[in-house]
């Protein structure tokens, strides 16, 4: 039954977007919720933080994120299914900011869990890589003088 419910819930398109930064207390709550899942032995977490980069003498004070949300969530759903098919994960949670995230704040939270270490670690790295490459999300780097440049992922 538990397994059946799990499969059902996997078919729903989950939202990953949150308005503004990811807060450390949100991350703590998310970690704490796993204490009842006692088959888990390993959690791997990736966090993206907005850097105060300097570009031609100007400083990035924030990034403003926008997304083609419907397409992003469909793609994320497909990635999620593939990753669960590839690695024996207990769970996976993904959050990405929309709107303004200031330098020093967190904009991206990937959280994978498994019984042993390798699947959580490998899945986390793979999901981070795929999200950066495949999800229609854009970052607009805002400078202190109200100019901007569009972020480019390497």
């Amino acid at each position: 039954m538990a397994n059946y419910r799990k499969k059902m819930s996997d078919k729903r398109i989950k939202n990953i977007f949150i308005k503004g930064p990811v807060s450390p207390s949100f991350i703590a709550d998310s970690i704490g919720k796993h204490s009842s899942k006692t088959s888990i032995g390993a959690h791997q977490i990736f966090l993206g933080q907005v850097r105060r980069d300097e570009v031609d003498g100007k400083t990035v004070t924030a990034i403003e994120y926008t997304a083609f949300e419907d397409l992003a969530l469909e793609k994320m759903h497909a990635i999620r299914e593939e990753i669960f098919g590839k690695y024996p994960l207990t769970c996976m949670h993904i959050y990405h900011s929309l709107g303004t995230v200031k330098s020093g704040e967190l904009c991206f939270f990937v959280f994978t869990s498994s019984a042993h270490r390798e699947p959580a670690t490998q899945a986390c790295a793979e999901v981070v890589e795929r999200i950066k490459k495949e999800l229609p999300i854009w970052g607009k780097e805002l400078f202190e003088d109200n100019t901007h440049q569009w972020k480019e992922n390497k």
């Binding site: 083609f68 854009w138 569009w150 992922n153």
Partner: protein, 77 residues
């Protein structure tokens, strides 16, 4: 024919959102060529189209009322 154009990222600064008129168009390759003529800046950019919320991987037919998203390289994360 009227096509609903939705732009993202840097391309929002080049091409306005909203209904746009085209004539003699039947597929996405022709649409791209027309857009690049109307907005020469687009020609020098890397971008992808989505047709009615599906990423366009190869040339696809376009009909009246289609929603076309024009997307520069992604930069999430």
């Amino acid at each position: 024919m009227e096509i609903d154009i939705v732009t993202f990222g840097k391309i929002t600064e080049i091409i306005p959102n909203g209904m746009m008129s085209f004539s003699g168009l039947t597929d996405t390759d022709q649409l791209k060529a027309t857009l690049e003529q109307r907005y020469p800046e687009l020609a020098g950019m890397k971008y992808k189209l989505a047709l009615n919320k599906t990423l366009v991987q190869e040339n696809k037919p376009v009909i009246e009322g289609a929603v076309i998203a024009i997307m520069p390289p992604f930069s999430g994360g």
